[in-house]
Symmetry: C2
Subunit: 201 residues, 2 copies
DNA sequence: CACGTTATGGACCGAATCGTCCACAATGGT
DNA sequence: ACCATTGTGGACGATTCGGTCCATAACGTG
């Protein structure tokens, strides 16, 4: 299944043929069509699995014990920037590719994307609320709006990364985002512990 | 040419056939291949034209007279959120689709995307520097980093919009971005004149 | 008008597309 | 060991793909 995901991921939906999938997996086309219903069904299954993985990974990174929520948020943002910047092949995110290619015409893909984005926003909201309780983020800020803002930055970095923007760009975006987050009044300053300060200049 | 752009835009590169283009434009395939070199050449030309339009439009919106730069920046961000939110068909941005579908395998597409993003960042940087000179934005902030940050948000809203996220989301992201921009110390507060405050609740 | 040049458009080609079909193997129950 | 059921895989078909080719039309020049 991961093999199929790799094909769709790399070549897109229209760009991936069932013959290619059959060859890559070693399965015959009869088996392929017998086990799944067809190309689109297979794609939706792959996409669903991918979205679940993405959400799980974010959950692991963000929804830790109710302690250090702000640091986890910063780490999440930095990790995204670093991961995208290190993706020199511009492989990108399958969900983003799926949404870009198909959500206009395929309602199921659009719905899958919407739900995944909402799930990610929920995770971010929970983390931000925890950071507010912990006195790291301004408790008067709208946690949901803040989460949507952060998610926009994250997805934007993904989109820019696919365009070949270099790692420094993404670092700038990530660090600026962190720096601008509304800290508690008595505790304004830089965004928690910064690991690699040097390379951005 | 706009007809061809519409096809590629809506169906993607792999999803658009030369026959469809011939039918839509009324041209014969011989003419098509005679005037342009082939499918990919035609696509690159369409994409180039689109990128130029996008950059021009941003330039018109952002690079006004050296007056009200901060207001123009806010208007630009809000206009993007509003435009994406109103795009119920999830038509999205051709450049984003092109980058998502092809930049991994087509160096020219990746280069086109990178250059366009850099152009947009330059426009944003110039506007932010103007806002700093005008005393609206913190003059000590790195204008380039701020521009990349704003561009990330803009492209992220685009990506989220394609996923079917509703207009309130995008409004939240836009307003939060504007609110968090580093105002000059003596002039902190809400982000300039807000036109449509009501509908976000 | 005559003529060389260029643009046009659709028939045509081989390759590739998605999906079907069926002979055959594997499996499990008795 | 026997058989019914399920799973397998590749040949096959109808269609569509990108691209070529050429008879014809349109055009500029004398």
């Amino acid at each position: 299944m991961a093999t199929v995901a790799g094909l769709f991921w790399s070549r897109g939906y229209a760009g991936t043929s069932m013959d290619a999938i059959a060859t890559a997996t070693g399965l015959g086309k009869g088996s392929l069509y017998g086990a799944f219903g067809g190309k689109r069904d297979l794609y939706l299954r792959v996409l669903g699995g991918y979205c679940a993985e993405v959400t799980d990974a974010a959950s692991v990174g963000l929804a830790g014990p109710d302690d250090g929520a702000f640091a986890r948020l910063c780490a999440h943002i930095r990790s995204a920037a670093q991961g995208i910047g290190a993706d020199h092949a511009h492989h990108g995110c399958l969900l983003a590719k799926a949404a870009a290619e198909l959500s206009e015409h395929d309602h199921d893909v659009a719905e899958q994307a919407r739900r995944t984005f909402e799930g990610l926003a929920d995770l971010l909201t929970a983390d931000i609320e925890a950071a507010q309780r912990e006195g790291e983020l301004d408790a008067t800020a709208d946690a949901g709006a803040l989460a949507r803002f952060v998610l926009s930055v994250l997805r934007g970095m993904e989109a820019l990364g696919k365009g070949g923007v270099d790692a420094e760009w993404l670092d700038d975006a990530a660090e600026t985002t962190i720096r601008l987050l509304p800290r508690t009044a008595h505790d304004a300053g830089t965004g928690s512990t910064r690991s690699g300060e040097a390379e951005t200049g």
